[in-house]
């Protein structure tokens, strides 16, 4: 990935960044750029001349970041010059990336040359100090491939100060923005996990000392021979920017302070994990087998022992397979690990399967309910949010190249094309995304997902042919727009006894009522698929998976039934079904044709699902055969070795 291309300013040498680097750098850049928003006099006027489409990293945050790298001031000046920021007067993406690369080089001990950045370098390390040692994590730079911690500028500020005063504390902020994959946007994620560390930091936060800055400035000028230029100016403005940014951060920190924040799965993350789960295993209540999970997690590029340990932590029942909560826990641990958190000794309480089950009991299931509907929605949200962030980061999707290649290869193709089409369309639909149906979701959504999540979700989240998801799950976090919108108004009505579209999944917590009511109203209403709906409605809660064919039909029915319901007055549950039936009758006739089409669509979908499953089946059979052969070979070996007793 050419960072130079993104910058729109080809002043720097072409940069070849690895995926991890690209991701990390773009995150950092976004952070610095984001912080530039409110900064007074953000940089010199040159900053205003930032290349269109490329944000400019405010010099304030950038300076903080650089200082957090704990390099000597002279080195930082050199870097600033080399990266071209001085020349152009602002930190565009190109300059920023080059600077980061130079920092990495400096930390690795390489000379400060442009050539140094051509080679493979570990990620630059940015240290942040902590006021207390409560949260201390090992130097994550040890891990190859781990992302650099997004240096929170408050802490950087403190670090800078402390660097002069205290020993360099190798403490790192607990809040690593999840660069690896999960969907939480950096600010949002920062907010949550950081709170603890920040609450401490805040108490000790002091304003940046402009003095060191000024001290550096004289250095800057004499040092600016080759490039010269306004490098000093960005530095000068950083002080004010830093302050403003720190205030920003403090405000954010006020929200929460959980001690085990790094291990708490946010809503977005949870959703992302669920999507990933579903991409591997369409049935959210079933298991992901060990081998599938292994392939998937191996792509995270963590070392095998670590993955093994993560598995150990997350597979609570040690059955060799991951249920959804286990999978979420494992995924979360991986994410945390990739962001530098050391793995815990035991599974944190917030990652326990029971906890996860309780915390996210049903809402996630409904995502599965509306597979075909829901996927574009998250993509919408994510895209919208992503647009706010660095656009470059879209390409940074890294660590989880689609894991299900062997499983859903063809589907992926379809998905990709679908998502690609969805991309431009979604961008324009940002405002139209129906998150308003779920305020809870809307808020986290606005945080913006990290880049990886978007692409990955798009890649993997879309699995059209999956058997329609469980009916009984509540729709509280409805990701499906239309249907949820359709539902939401009907929920109150249905709760009073009117069944939500009877054949449809009764997502609402008024299941029993609606079931009984639905049965009564069902028959008259739905002539087309009465039997199916009837049997499914009472059983929908009990046997969610037993009626896949009927589900899509039900789904289609819903809108019609919606209209039907709206026309009907709310009827009591056991009330006169006949009364209810009278009204729907006329409408039923109209809907029959629609139902037919719905059925046909459902049939088509099911056929596709069948094809996919058949393919999967054959592949698994193949694997089974191979395993059998291996086993036979091993047994043969055993037999050969057995009779020989060593004396």
């Amino acid at each position: 990935m050419e960072a130079a291309a993104g910058g729109g300013c080809g002043s720097g040498p072409p940069l070849l960044l690895s995926e991890g680097e690209q991701q990390c750098y773009s995150e950092l850049f976004a952070r610095c750029a984001g912080a530039a928003g409110g900064g007074p006099g953000s940089g010199p006027p040159e900053a205003a001349r930032a290349a269109p489409g490329a944000a400019t990293a405010a010099s304030g945050p950038v300076a903080d970041l650089f200082r957090a790298s704990q390099l000597p001031a002279e080195t930082l000046h050199q870097i600033t010059e080399l990266c071209g920021a001085k020349r152009v007067g602002y930190f565009g993406p190109t300059q920023f990336y080059i600077a980061l690369k130079l920092i990495a080089a400096a930390q690795s001990g390489l000379p400060m040359r442009i050539e140094s950045i051509k080679c493979e370098l570990p990620l630059p390390r940015f240290m942040m100090s902590k006021t207390d040692a409560e949260i201390r994590f090992g130097n994550m730079a040890e891990l190859h491939g781990t992302k650099v911690q997004i240096p929170y500028l408050i802490t950087e500020k403190n670090t800078f100060k402390r660097m002069d005063d205290e020993d360099k504390q190798e403490t790192q902020s607990p809040t690593m923005s999840p660069l690896a994959s999960p969907p939480s946007s950096p600010p949002h994620y920062q907010r949550v996990p950081l709170s603890h560390g920040y609450s401490k930091l805040r108490s000790s936060t002091e304003q940046v000392h402009p003095a060191p800055y000024e001290a550096r400035q004289p250095l800057v000028q004499p040092e600016g021979p080759s490039l010269g230029g306004p490098g000093a100016k960005p530095l000068r403005h950083q002080a004010s920017l830093i302050r403003s940014f720190s205030v920003e951060r403090e405000l954010q920190d006020n929200n929460s302070s959980y001690p085990d924040e790094p291990w708490r799965i946010t809503e977005e993350q949870r959703e992302y994990y669920v999507n990933q789960f579903r991409s591997l295993q369409p049935d959210p209540s079933s298991f992901i087998s060990g081998s599938v999970a292994k392939n998937f997690f191996t792509k995270s590029k963590l070392s095998i022992p670590e993955l093994s340990y993560i598995w150990e932590l997350s597979d609570a029942d040690c059955d060799g397979a991951l249920s959804l909560p286990e999978f979420c826990a494992a995924f979360h641990l991986i994410v945390a690990r990739k962001n530098g958190y050391p793995l815990p000794e035991g599974l944190p309480p917030t990652l326990q399967p029971e906890y996860l089950q309780a915390a996210f009991p049903k809402p996630k299931w409904e995502c599965a309910l509306f597979d075909s509907y829901s996927e574009p929605v998250p993509a919408n949200q994510q895209l919208r949010d992503l647009n706010r962030m660095e656009k470059l980061s879209i390409k940074d999707v890294a660590d989880f190249p689609v894991p299900t290649q062997d499983v859903t290869g063809d589907d992926k193709q379809a998905l990709k094309s679908a998502t690609d089409e969805a991309l431009p369309k979604d961008m324009s639909e940002d405002s139209a995304t129906p998150k308003d149906s779920n305020s809870l979701k809307a808020r986290p959504r606005s945080r913006s997902y990290s880049s990886t999540s978007i692409e990955e979700a798009m890649k993997r989240g879309e699995d059209p042919p999956t058997p329609p998801p469980r009916p009984q799950k509540t729709h509280s976090r409805a990701s499906s727009l239309d249907l949820n919108k359709v539902f939401q108004p009907s929920v109150p009505a249905s709760k009073s006894g009117l069944l939500p579209p009877p054949p449809a999944l009764p997502p609402r917590p008024c299941p029993l009522q609606s079931e009984q009511g639905s049965e009564a109203e069902l028959h008259p209403q739905l002539n087309r698929a009465p039997s199916q709906a009837a049997e499914s409605s009472p059983t929908k809660k009990d046997i969610p998976y037993s009626q896949p064919p009927s589900k899509p039909i039900r789904r289609k029915f819903r809108p019609e039934n919606q209209a039907t319901e709206n026309q009907e007055p709310t009827t009591a549950v056991g009330g006169p079904a006949s009364v209810a039936t009278v009204k729907p009758h006329p409408t039923v006739q109209k809907q029959s044709s629609k139902q037919k089409k719905a059925i046909q669509t459902a049939i088509r979908k099911n056929k596709e699902a069948n094809a996919v499953l058949a393919r999967l089946n054959s592949e698994l059979q193949q694997q089974l055969k191979e395993v059998h052969q291996e086993r036979i070979a091993l047994e043969n070996q055993l037999e050969q070795l057995r009779p020989v007793t060593v004396l």
Binding site: S291, K294, P305, W311, D315, G320, T645, L647
Partner: protein, 144 residues
Amino acid sequence: MGWILVASAAVILFLQNYPLYIRSVPTENELKFHYMVHTSLDVVDEKISAMGKALVDQRELYLGLLYPTEDYKVYGYVTNSKVKFVMVVDSSNTALRDNEIRSMFRKLHNSYTDVMCNPFYNPGDRIQSRAFDGMVTSMMIQVC
């Protein structure tokens, strides 16, 4: 074929007569434990072949005084996949009864299967599961 040697303790888990897992509480004399285990491996093999086609059951290898000079009892246990667990305990630990040894082996076996369930674990690798370590540690603490 793996071996676990638990002594007073040393634990060595062997696969095909090379160790999968070794742990001993008094960390000195580990070599001695290794030696003992290797000799006991032969005895275990004999017993296995003697059993013929019979299913491998929980088994005990009570050697008594393997070396007259040292009071050690070496217990053995073989799983269905021919993974051998060897436990060496101090004879001075007279409190240890047979059923206790059996229960310890059962626990070892359970932990081992948990390790096997981990898809990232390749059979034949050294066992690095922390859960397994913890279990063995607790067991050995209990014994000693």
